[in-house]
């Protein structure tokens, strides 16, 4: 080994604590990148494989009753590979062990497995057999939630007739990877199930012999989705078609896409923060090492080493530390990616989940790691190599200090000499103090941002479940009923309060933009399910016009006063012009609201409702459930308490893991920055501190100077970090702004408190590590060497 390389390894060993701290910060950035990209790759590859192998459709359309030949006609549209008509129906399921009725979506399947699109994976049991109309396959989440065994019998209400169904198999489908019930905000395997039944049985039950009410298509690669949709809508219109849509609007697939977008954002937002901090740490640490090596650099150059050789020496040090960080980051990232992919396996229902770390992911992460490290160290290294040997070999002038600004303002007489030392040191290297403050502030910010997720989701839940949706349950009916149905619900046992609503599918158009939504018609005096705006004010839709959610308005580029073209997709399918009267902020879904009677007029119908929100007496809820299971017209039932439980469980399992990762990283950054800052300060001031010890200052007193400096830096950084954390949260709010949901920009005071406490903890920990070294200061050696 060459002497220079020996020196390199000894230098590295000498600064091992700091090197490790930097390596860990780099590792944080690399790990996040590897985690996000590998999970993204895995999810993408899994989705692609599942979709392709099981022929997940590209286009979906619902109709009332279309003859089978229409499907053949649609199959002939240019660009359509295959069109398959089927029957899809929402029903109420009665499970013996569960008090409340569950909701189900029944999907027809050719008995014997002749399905070409949206095929299923049978996980247990067998496929449906020809000639056994009461056999069903159920989706895995539902089977697991109820502990359903093969051969178990469940009951369903089909077209107002109760029917016993025998479970013969458990299945998964690319169509229901994220099986979310209508109106739900998270999948609830207990209360919502997918049932596959034979086409014959459903044709008979719904009087659809030779007809279908749902159509799915697969397209050629070259096909234009928009053009196919126009054709499908045209052909299905006479049969009650409610508008075809692509995968982007297919709820399950949209959720998977949204999750992948989040991972993508994560890969873009978080790693740069880490790498920026690592670059900064390199800058100060390498600058310090070079400062201490000045004379040796001069000597090497006097011996005839070139600038490049000397510079390379220090870059090698940077690369060794970076390399260590990259290795740690790869390992951590792969482990975290595996953990996150595991979460997705539970969260989404894929029959398989390929976990893979693509070599390109490793290459990209290594590249950005090295790039940021070299950028960080470059200016310090350049300074080292460009200094003339003669200058390098003479000791540097004592640093020129000035009285600090604070003292000039007349504070001097309140300051002890150690306090002046701290202040003047900070003001002497304002850039370094600024960078350290920035680094500490970043760790506060990342903590605040991580905790923001909790707060935002809790806030969203709070608004959704306690301000907006205050009903105990929501009932939906098979057919829209007149308001007379209201009194029937009133008569059910345990019902304390009833509020009816109308929901109608419609296409909203403004200029060339259009969106498919369900317009909700609410009565002005709603107490249970309310429309609440950003400021917590209850909004009542005026007798005319439409209220849009902010997101919907944004998608349509609509402002208050604009006139929308509303094409209703049900009933008489009227097209009307409706003014936008108000825009409100909603966190879940795309909302469009009207006064119910105005909506009824728009539809050209009478006093019609789609369902009712009810408040119940929890004591006699079991009786109510029993009664409801017997109501043949009931199409759906959403129980608020159940949704709340599922939502909380999801947050517990899903969010906690991710946030745990972030919190760990933020703590590592805090320790990395603060420890390095303290170490550098110690090594630069060893002489001063030793002088003080010789003069009779105690270790504690000398330690106070170092600790005081850290305390000031941290103290200044804390509020800045809180502000930056709010900024990062704002950035995330923008990035996570999807059609499905938005996050409220809300951070609880306690989150700021926790973030601040954790960073103070990290400061104390780092200070403790460094202060132990004050005790080890070699007083004699320090005093006897030249400055």
């Amino acid at each position: 080994m060459t002497p220079l390389n020996k020196k390199l390894y000894r230098d590295l060993w000498h600064i091992r604590g700091q090197a490790l701290a930097i390596a860990v910060v780099i590792a944080g950035g690399i790990a996040t990148l590897v985690m996000a990209l590998s999970a993204l790759d895995s999810l993408q590859e899994t989705r692609r494989a599942f979709s392709e192998q099981y022929r997940f459709a590209h286009v979906f359309a619902h109709a009332k009753r279309a003859p089978d030949w229409v499907a053949r006609e649609i199959g002939a549209i240019p660009g359509v590979l295959r069109a398959e008509g089927r029957i899809v129906q929402d029903i109420i399921i009665d499970i013996a062990e569960m008090q409340e009725p569950a909701r189900g979506r029944v999907v027809s399947r050719a008995a014997g497995g002749q399905t070409h699109l949206n095929d299923i994976v049978i996980r247990r049991g067998r496929d449906l057999r020809h000639g056994y109309p009461n056999e069903v396959l159920v989706n895995e989440a539902f089977a697991q939630a109820h502990g359903l065994q093969l051969g178990d019998v469940i009951h369903g209400n089909f077209n107002q007739r109760r029917r016993a169904l025998k479970v013969v198999g458990v299945a998964l489908s690319p169509e229901f990877v994220y099986a979310i019930g209508p109106g739900d905000i998270v999948p609830d395997g207990r209360h919502f199930g997918i049932l596959w039944m034979s086409r014959e049985a459903l044709e008979a039950a719904y009087d659809l012999k030779g007809a279908f009410n749902n159509l799915t298509l697969r397209l050629t690669r070259a096909a234009s989705l928009a053009e196919v949709i126009v054709q499908v809508d045209r052909l299905l219109a006479p049969y009650g078609g409610v508008g075809a849509y692509g995968r982007a609007d297919q709820l399950s697939d949209a959720f998977v896409t949204s999750e992948m977008e989040q991972l993508d954002h994560l890969a873009v937002v978080i790693p740069p923060v880490f790498l920026l901090i690592a670059a900064f740490l390199f800058n100060v640490v390498i600058a310090r090492i070079i400062q201490a090596d000045r004379e040796q650099i001069g000597l090497l150059k006097a011996f005839g080493y070139s600038n490049i050789a000397v510079g390379w020496q220090y870059l090698k040090l940077v690369l060794l530390i970076t390399g260590l960080g990259i290795l740690i980051g790869w390992a951590m990232g792969a482990w975290m990616g595996y953990a996150v992919t595991g979460l997705y396996r539970d969260f989404f229902r894929f029959p398989f989940l390929y976990f893979q770390v693509d070599p390109s992911t490793l290459a990209i992460s290594a590249f950005v790691g090295i790039f940021s490290a070299v950028i960080g160290a470059l200016s310090a290294v350049r300074r080292a190599v460009t200094i003339a040997p003669a200058v390098a070999m003479t000791p540097p002038m004592p640093s020129a200090y000035r009285t600090s600004l604070l003292e000039n303002l007349g504070l001097a007489r309140f300051l002890s000499q150690p306090a002046r030392m701290i202040l003047r040191y900070l003001f002497r290297w304002p850039l370094r103090a600024t960078l350290t403050i920035t680094g500490i502030a970043f760790s506060v910010a990342i903590l605040v941002m991580s905790l923001f997720f909790f707060d935002a989701v809790n806030k969203m839940m709070d608004i959704h479940f306690f301000e907006t949706e205050r009903q105990d349950m929501t009932l939906t009916f098979v057919d829209v009923r007149t308001d007379a149905a209201r009194s029937n619900i009133d008569d059910l046992p345990g019902v304390l309060m009833v509020e009816t609503f109308r929901i109608a599918r419609a296409k909203l158009r403004l200029g060339h933009r259009q969106e498919r939504v369900g317009i909700i018609g609410i009565d002005g005096d709603m107490e249970l399910s309310r429309l609440v705006d950003v400021d917590g004010r209850v909004v009542t839709p005026p007798p005319e016009g439409i209220v849009l959610s902010e997101k919907l308005a944004e998608l349509l580029v609509a402002r208050k006063g604009d006139i929308l073209t509303v094409s209703t997709l049900e009933g008489r399918r009227l097209v009307r012009q409706v003014p936008v009267v108000r825009i409100v902020r909603l966190y879940i879904g795309l909302g469009a609201y009207m006064d119910r009677r105005a909506l009824n007029r728009l539809m050209g119908e009478g006093d019609i409702i789609s369902g009712a929100h009810v408040l119940t007496d929890s004591k006699i809820e079991p009786t109510l459930y029993t009664s409801l299971k017997g109501v043949p017209a009931l199409l759906g039932l959403a129980v608020r308490r159940a949704a709340l439980n599922v939502f909380s469980a999801m947050i517990r399992e899903h969010l906690h893991t991710m946030i745990f990762f972030y919190l760990t990283f933020a703590a590592l950054i805090a320790v990395g920055v603060i420890y390095n800052s303290a170490r550098i300060s110690l090594s630069e001031r060893a002489r001063e501190l030793a002088s003080l010890r010789v003069l009779g200052f105690t270790r504690r007193e000398v330690g106070t100077i170092l600790a005081g400096e850290l305390a000031i830096l941290t103290f200044v950084a804390l509020p800045l970090g809180c502000i930056a954390g709010y900024g990062l949260a704002g950035l995330l709010v923008n990035l996570f702004d999807t059609k499905l949901y938005r996050l409220p920009l809300y951070i609880a005071d306690s989150s700021y408190g926790y973030a601040v406490l954790m960073v103070i903890g990290a400061t104390i920990g780092s200070a403790w590590l460094v202060l132990r070294r004050v005790a080890q200061l070699d007083l004699i050696a320090v005093m006897k060497t030249r400055e």
Binding site: S399, Y401, R428, S691, G696, M783, K784
Partner: protein
């Protein structure tokens, strides 16, 4: 050496007394003996010059007296207190209350002005001079508000002397105080040490390579190879300003 102690033990009490002071630096296989059993007494108000080549043990001896280092064996008494029995905190206390140091490299705090460097010590001392008095003692009353970077080497060293004497130490320990300075500047520093010692009755111990400086001492102790090689008593010590080299 025993008789030397007897010679001086008459009227004055010793400030320091060392008994069999030994310091060994343990290395891989080859131990380095810095001190090999030094017995010496130092008396109130006397000025001592330690002479000797590099590695003769004089700095180690000074550091042990100042509570900066521990002997491997032997004892050191400061008045009645056995220093070798003190723990680190007590040694810090001892340095704070009784000892002033001057080193070859001035070891001023660069971020504090001359006055503040002195105040650093006066703030923690029981009965100090004011920083202004201390600086006047070394002739620097005009440059009190300058930072170290704005002072010459001799001026910096005089600030270091002022800082050491400001707490009215019992003992002033100077390790090569003029080593980094030219002759004229060095003498100004020695005058400062001499003046402070005279004004405050401080015992001063000065390490030097420079035999010329020996003339200002009451006694000159020659170190060689970790032992005291000889003690010379100056019948008449010369004022620092008359010395030259």
């Amino acid at each position: 050496m025993g008789d030397v102690q007897k010679d001086n033990a008459g009227s004055r009490a010793p400030v320091f007394r060392t008994v069999g002071l030994t310091k060994v630096y343990r290395g891989d296989g080859n131990d380095v003996w810095a001190l090999r059993g030094v017995d010496l007494a130092l008396y109130e108000g006397e000025t001592l010059v330690l002479l000797g080549p590099s590695g003769s043990g004089k700095s180690t001896f000074l550091n042990i007296l100042g509570g900066l280092d521990h002997p491997s064996s032997g004892q050191v008494f400061f008045r009645r207190q056995e220093l070798t029995a003190l723990d680190d905190n007590a040694l810090t206390r001892y340095r704070r209350d009784h000892i002033g140091f001057v080193f070859q490299f001035y070891n001023l705090i660069p971020s504090l002005t001359a006055r503040e460097n002195v105040a650093l010590v006066t703030e923690i001392a029981a009965n100090p001079l004011s920083p202004e008095e201390a600086l006047a003692l070394v002739g620097l009353e005009e440059r009190m508000d300058h930072f170290p970077a704005q002072l010459s080497g001799g001026e910096q060293q005089r600030v270091a002397v002022a800082r050491s004497v400001a707490k009215r130490p019992d003992v002033l320990l100077c390790d090569e105080p003029t080593g980094a300075l030219d002759s004229a500047t060095g003498i100004s520093v020695l005058e400062a040490i001499e003046g402070a010692s005279r004004e405050l009755g401080t015992t001063a111990v000065i390490i030097t390579h420079n035999a010329g400086i020996a003339a200002m001492a009451d006694r000159v102790i020659a170190f060689a190879d970790g032992r005291i090689a000889g003690i010379t008593v100056n019948a008449e010590k010369l004022p620092a300003r008359t010395i030259s080299w």
